[in-house]
Every structure is written in structure tokens, then in C-alpha cells.
């Protein structure tokens, strides 16, 4: 299935792009992270500590154990620092 993957802040800088569309069979966030981390060194580095990351499916925060379902937009980013 085609999914849009978004990266923000230092994750974006490490991956080297803000967004990409990929074809994936992953059914959970965790599976998708394993798949991404296996792609290239920069992804492996970016996802080396998933516990330090947050994920949103279609702009809603969720957990790494969550099913991807029919989420079109999957975003990864560090903990937020607004305010």
C-alpha cells in the first residue's frame, strides 16, 4: 500500500527529506519503523532510538504498537517543544 511518510525537526535532518511516498506491506507502526530503518544508514541512524520518537497517523498522535489501518499520512518526529 502507498503511504506518505513525514519527518520533522532533527529526524527530518537525519533522513534528509521532509516527506516521501513509499510502498509498504507493514501493518503496524513498529513494522514500518523496522522497514525504514533497514533501508539506508541515514534511516538506521534516524530511527536508532525509536523510544525517543513520536508518531502520528493522519495527524493524530498514537503509539508505535498501533495498526496503520488505512492511514494515508504517517509522521515521525522528536518529542514536541512548543510553548
Amino acid at each position: 500500500m502507498k503511504r506518505d511518510i513525514l519527518y520533522f525537526a532533527w529526524l527530518r535532518e537525519r533522513v534528509g527529506l521532509p516527506r516521501e511516498t513509499i510502498e509498504t506491506d507493514a501493518t503496524t507502526v513498529a513494522e514500518l519503523v523496522s522497514e525504514l530503518a533497514a533501508r539506508e544508514d541515514r534511516y538506521a541512524l534516524a530511527f536508532s532510538d525509536p523510544g525517543a520518537l513520536r508518531v502520528a497517523l493522519d495527524q493524530e498522535l498514537t503509539d508505535f504498537s498501533a495498526a496503520l489501518g488505512d492511514a494515508r499520512e504517517i509522521a515521525f518526529f522528536p518529542p514536541m517543544t512548543g510553548g
Binding site: Q59, F77, M80
Partner: protein, 150 residues
């Protein structure tokens, strides 16, 4: 539904003017609480600028949800959230929240809650640029811990 005024913008805003306008709303408002977050220089005074990245679309959504939660939990009659993104200078206003209520306890609690949730749940990321280079600001454990107060 109470009036929620949520703005995510690159442009500066005038904190004083927003406070004045907010407090002049009609209705039986007795108490207004506002918070303003300001770009703080480093201890060494070396901050050249701050840059805030955000997640367009999700940001507005997250702020609206947080404001709706506050409105469901406390007796508030109006709520404003303004948050800038992009480059800012030391001393610039980054963001503000304002709450209005018939009662001061509700206005205080709602504003305090909004700030705690906004800090850890709205997709903004701060980067500090000094003469030493650029560095992403780390989230504080205390910010995540603050959520358990509510």
C-alpha cells in the same frame, strides 16, 4: 460552543493588543488569565535567533482538540491560542494563550492546562541558533510529567 480563536502563523502578534481585545469580550466574564511565551536568550547571551518548525494541519487540529478539552473541563467562555512558527529574535513573543471565565480558579486552571498540553502535544519544535551553531531544543521530562497533574 464557546468562541475558540486559534491562530498558527509566521507573522508576529501584539501580545498587549490581543490581551486588551480578549478582555473586552462581552458576556459575564469576571476573570481573564493570559500566558505569553517569549524567546529567552541563553545564559551567555549568545542566542542569535530561534526557529520553530511545525506540522501544518496537525498543529491546528491538536490545538483545537486541546482547547476543546479545556472547555469541557472548566467553565470558560472564550479561549485564544496564538503560536508562531519560523524565525524569531530574543525577546519576541512566541505564543500566547488566554482564557476567560466567570471564576478565577477556572480561568487559571484552563490556561495552565492548555500550556501543559500544548508543550507536549502540539507539533512544534524549537531550534536555537547561537554563534556556536544550531541546536534542537530537547523536550524536558518535567514537561511530560506535568501532564499527570490533570
Amino acid at each position: 460552543m464557546i468562541p475558540l480563536d486559534i491562530r498558527v502563523q509566521a507573522d508576529p502578534f501584539d501580545y498587549g493588543q490581543e490581551c486588551g481585545r480578549f478582555a473586552k469580550q462581552s458576556g459575564r466574564i469576571g476573570a481573564v488569565v493570559t500566558f505569553c511565551g517569549i524567546v529567552r536568550d541563553t545564559e551567555a547571551g549568545t542566542l542569535q535567533r530561534m526557529e520553530i518548525e511545525h506540522y501544518p494541519g496537525m498543529t491546528e487540529r491538536a490545538l483545537t482538540q486541546i482547547a476543546e478539552q479545556a472547555a469541557a473541563r472548566w467553565d470558560i467562555q472564550a479561549c485564544t491560542i496564538i503560536h508562531r512558527h519560523g524565525p524569531m529574535a530574543p525577546g519576541d513573543a512566541i505564543m500566547m494563550v488566554a482564557t476567560a471565565s466567570p471564576h478565577r480558579a477556572d480561568a487559571f486552571a484552563a490556561a495552565d492546562f492548555l500550556m501543559d498540553y500544548l508543550k507536549s502535544r502540539a507539533p512544534f519544535w524549537k531550534k536555537e541558533i547561537t554563534d556556536q551553531g544550531a541546536e534542537w531544543v530537547d523536550a524536558k521530562d518535567s514537561d511530560e510529567a506535568a501532564l499527570s497533574r490533570w
